[in-house]
Symmetry: C2
Subunit: 211 residues, 2 copies
DNA sequence: TCGTGCCTTGACCAATTGGTCAAAAGCCTG
DNA sequence: CAGGCTTTTGACCAATTGGTCAAGGCACGA
């Protein structure tokens, strides 16, 4: 039985393979993002995907392989906006655009945000290398850029890495703690207010001179 | 076999009971806070507590009972600083004191923060009632207080609930995402810088007139 | 249409897990 | 130091879980 996932099976994937792998990942995202890695079961994933458990194992080497695939894919999507931070742009506008995009992403991909949060909460056991190789260099680069902007007086003085942390914290919070938000916030467009609040917050923090 | 935990056993707990229940809760906090509810096992907890598994079950009705006990206890500690927000105080100073205390707590009780985060991430299945009864009224009350302060022009205009969210988000982030912070931050006193950063951030956001 | 190789699954397995129980071991008090 | 309680545990159990496997179903090119 040659698994389609075996490394040396370089065949291009059939239509069925493409469809089913996508189904599985979609279902697994649903399950992992709320249950965490250990909390999720292959049976849950199989049922959510509408496939039998052995069939899931036909497409992926195992539970962990599914999780890792999901994590890596998410990581790319997640970092893309930070990549876009443009050294040639106007500092405040660049950062506000980044922040706005991050809020959008929390609204649009809450499952991905929670998947990630779960992994980090548990000490990033399946992702530490990826953090070192993928995330750290990018953050170092952008932190340096922000530091330059500050030196040039085009942003209020701010510790770049902590700025980035607080942007992530405030934006992802709305996705990760949705269950809490649902209880505390009055009905209505939480997201619009959230966007306005976060934007005000960072505008005031970063404006080179107080408005 | 009369369990000491049975409701109608109103006996005051023996010295051994007090000691062992404390041990178990301490061990369980270690385990639950990194593994989440489903990820944690009674064996892990038993081993961490230095007790046998059946002995754990002698002191608590079951896995869930331990988790709930921990959650409820944590919730109190967690909310105490918000309770202290004083209507008679100077608004900006009151809020900054609250924020400082929250940073302290994330530094001092990261496990509690993660325990809580895990529960909320998973949709707060074992805590929703407690959120409604305990958390919501308090937040409503303090949000009203902040709204009053804003009306009186003693704080910059801000949506109170979102302010509270962003305080929680920024402060707890340092505990909950510690694994990520460890990778991204250069060695040194992350916490001191974090405190300074967060304080600046909210000072600028809240100061009734720009400094 | 036929067969070859891709896809699917029922049955099964070993390990883990939350929990039970009866008996043994401490421990305290009269 | 005896008797009755509290505490502790080894042995056990049923359910769940990740994973295997051989056999059957199916699609599609020749």
């Amino acid at each position: 039985m040659n698994r389609p996932t075996e490394p040396y099976t370089a065949r291009k994937p059939s239509r069925i393979q493409t469809r089913n792998r996508k189904r599985i990942l979609e279902a697994a995202l649903d399950v992992f993002s709320v249950e965490g890695y250990r909390g999720a079961t292959l049976d849950q994933i199989a049922q959510a995907a509408g496939l039998s458990k052995p069939n899931i194992l036909y497409y992926f080497e195992g539970k962990e392989a599914i999780h890792v695939t999901l994590l890596n894919h998410t990581m790319e999507t997640w970092l893309e906006p930070l990549h876009r931070l443009d050294p040639a742009g106007e500092p405040l506008e660049e950062l506000l655009r980044y922040i706005r995009r991050k809020v959008e992403m929390s609204r649009e991909y809450p499952r991905e945000s929670r998947l990630f949060a779960n992994e980090i909460l548990q000490g990033a056991p399946r992702m530490r290398p990826h953090l070192e190789d993928g995330l750290k260099p990018l953050v170092d680069e952008k932190a340096a850029l922000i530091a330059r902007w500050v030196e040039q007086g085009r942003l209020a003085p701010v510790e770049p890495r902590h700025l980035i942390m607080s942007i992530w914290a405030t934006t992802q919070h709305y996705a990760d703690f949705e269950a809490q938000i649902a209880v505390l916030m009055p009905e209505g467009d939480v997201w619009d207010d959230a966007l306005a609040h976060v934007e005000t917050m960072f505008r005031k923090l970063l404006a080179p001179r107080p408005d």
